[in-house]
């Protein structure tokens, strides 16, 4: 029987085809013209986006309003020269809500490097407004890092190589907004607000200084906000609490955008660049046959729902051994501590797994959990369906968004 199978297999392998130029021309020409059509569409969209960005930019709005403001400011300053400007962090938090992206240019002194490097960074916030999603940074050495899905791409022009770090994604976390500013105001030791002017433009500015001894390590900060727009315009960080010496991070220009096109975060890899793929240690854990749940005779969807059910059942029952096996990357102690004060009590509903754009590991399964305090939260679990040593199994790789 085996040899007969081999005979059929050999016949299939021997089956060969040649295409004439007409066939190639028809298929390839249509595909190429479709590619060109998409390119043109993207170009038009990008140009429109750039125009929209310019029109919506706070700088343009400020410039347009400048004529009126100049008159008002002059009048106000003549009538009441002693009025002190007022600013509260809540105003900046409110103002930042409208903005979804940021461009920061400045200088950075890496800890292991005494040389100062200038950089340009673009970032776009995620849907929940909690941390950055798209991210791209360019350093004066020519090195460029950007994020695609959950992977980080790092291009080094000196080596003409692209390193792809799988499952590693740099983020601005927390995003500039309530999480960051309120935390700084409440947790730092010496939050101080002062007022002044930008010597270059004469615009009213708010300066905030603060520090923390364990942030981790001693850190101090200096922020500059525009009094009128309430938006941050500059920011510095020192690795000491006295703001002594040169800052290790100096964001000299911060421009907030309501929108930045996806193209801003992309990079065209040079044709002959060497590609080096790197997998983090967690990848090994995700592919460890001793972890996860057997999923023989299950579809990916069935396995995802089942493992999410088993995982939350284990968390509710306090079966931490099973939790660790189903979700091997998670730090068990962290989860135990997280759930100890308000443990989950009931699985309300497990939704249908779906493919989440930007999540390359596997499907995302939403689950609604009721906690002891009565709070019901939706948590999106990322699962990975795998074939290890010829056996199908499924493992929890993490969560999509906040848990």
């Amino acid at each position: 029987m085996k040899s007969e199978d081999d005979k059929v297999k050999a016949l299939i392998n021997e089956a060969k085809i040649e295409t004439g130029s007409g066939v190639d021309e028809r298929i390839l020409a249509d595909a190429l013209s479709e590619l060109e059509r998409l390119r043109q569409k993207r170009l038009t969209r990008s140009q429109q986006n750039v125009w929209r960005i310019i029109m919506k930019s706070p700088i343009v709005k400020l410039a347009a309003a400048a004529v009126i403001i100049v008159g008002l400011v002059l009048l106000v300053s003549i009538l009441n020269n002693s009025t002190s400007p007022a600013w509260a962090v809540e105003q900046t938090i409110e103002a930042l809500k409208r903005f979804n992206a940021v461009h920061i240019s400045g200088v950075v002194i890496p800890p292991e490097d005494s040389l100062q490097h200038s950089f340009d960074l673009w970032a776009r916030v995620n849907e929940d407004h909690t941390q950055s999603d798209d991210f791209r940074i360019e350093i004066d050495t020519g090195q460029i890092s950007w994020v695609e899905g959950n992977d980080t791409y790092h291009y080094d022009p000196n080596q003409n190589a692209v390193r792809i770090r799988r499952g590693q994604k740099p983020t601005i976390n927390p995003w500039m907004g309530r999480d960051l500013l309120q935390r700084l105001e409440q947790k730092t030791d010496d939050w101080q607000v002062s007022y002044g002017n930008d010597p270059a433009t004469g615009r009213d500015r708010v300066f905030v200084t603060c520090s923390h001894l364990h942030a981790p390590g001693p850190k101090s900060w200096w922020f500059e906000f525009d009094l009128e727009t309430k938006l941050p315009v500059r920011f510095k960080q020192w690795d000491n609490i006295q703001r002594e010496g040169n800052p290790t991070f100096d964001a000299q220009r911060i421009v907030c955008y309501e929108y930045l096109p996806a193209e801003t975060f992309k990079f065209e890899i040079p044709e002959n660049a060497k590609i080096i793929e790197e997998f983090p240690e967690v990848w090994d854990k995700l592919n460890d046959p001793n972890t996860g749940m057997p999923a023989e005779a299950m579809t990916e969807e069935e396995a995802s729902v089942e493992i999410v059910r088993q995982y939350w059942r284990a968390v509710i029952d306090g079966n931490w051994e099973l939790v660790a096996r189903l979700r091997p990357i998670a730090n068990l102690e962290t989860w135990q501590a997280k759930y100890s004060s308000n443990p989950p009590g009931e699985i309300i509903e497990i939704g249908k797994p779906y493919q989440q754009e930007g999540c390359s590991i596997g499907p995302v399964t939403p689950v609604r959990i009721k906690f002891r305090d009565g709070d019901i939260r939706e948590i999106k679990i990322i699962t990975k369906f795998r074939d290890v040593n010829g056996k199908s199994s499924c493992v929890i790789a993490g969560t999509w968004g906040k848990e």
Partner: protein, 179 residues
């Protein structure tokens, strides 16, 4: 990795990358389409639609497995639809153009070697589902589980289609050999 890079370049509008993907996989795709449909013209249409469709979806496309596997699956799906449509529209006499020697074919056509012609003719005598199971398993090197998942059927159904199809194919080929 090369495929990922080609897809990445394609996403950024590289014509060269698209041409390289086409050159790399066109024979595999056409072979599968011909074996499934036993009709060169329909096979060419299927591969054409797959490539144009691939470009149309390129912006949102994410390569998670092998590009060859993905394209072959697309061909199998479109071939299945083409087969269904053919059965809906045919009135019995409108048989597909069988794969035949190509000596007189113009230069622009698809040229099949003897093995492919033999395979295609033999395959045409099998039920479509059996053809599909054999070709996806042998030619596309897909696991039964993968085929089952993609078609929304059980693994056992795929295995039995494959086994019955293979038995019949063997009989047909042996019979041909005896003649």
């Amino acid at each position: 990795m090369e495929d990922k890079l080609l897809v990445l370049r394609c996403k950024r509008g590289s014509r060269d990358a698209l041409a390289r993907i086409y050159e790399k996989y066109k024979r595999d795709l056409l072979t599968l389409a011909i074996a499934l449909l036993n009709d060169r013209s329909a096979a060419e249409d299927v591969v054409h639609d797959v490539f144009v469709g691939f470009v149309q979806a390129i912006e949102k496309f994410r390569l998670t497995g092998s590009l060859k596997g993905y394209l072959l699956t697309c061909v199998a799906n479109r071939a299945r639809n083409a087969n269904k449509a053919r059965h809906r529209h045919s009135v019995g006499l409108d048989l597909p153009e069988p794969v035949s020697p190509d000596a007189d074919e113009p230069r622009s056509s698809i040229v099949c070697n003897e093995e492919l012609q033999q395979l295609s003719c033999a395959m045409a005598q099998l039920a479509y589902d059996q053809r599909e199971a054999i070709m996806l398993h042998f030619h596309a090197a897909m696991a039964f589980r993968t085929i089952a998942t993609q078609q929304g059927i059980s693994v056992n159904t795929v295995k039995s289609r494959y086994r019955y199809g293979l038995d019949k194919l063997r009989l047909i080929l042996n019979h041909e050999a005896e003649k």
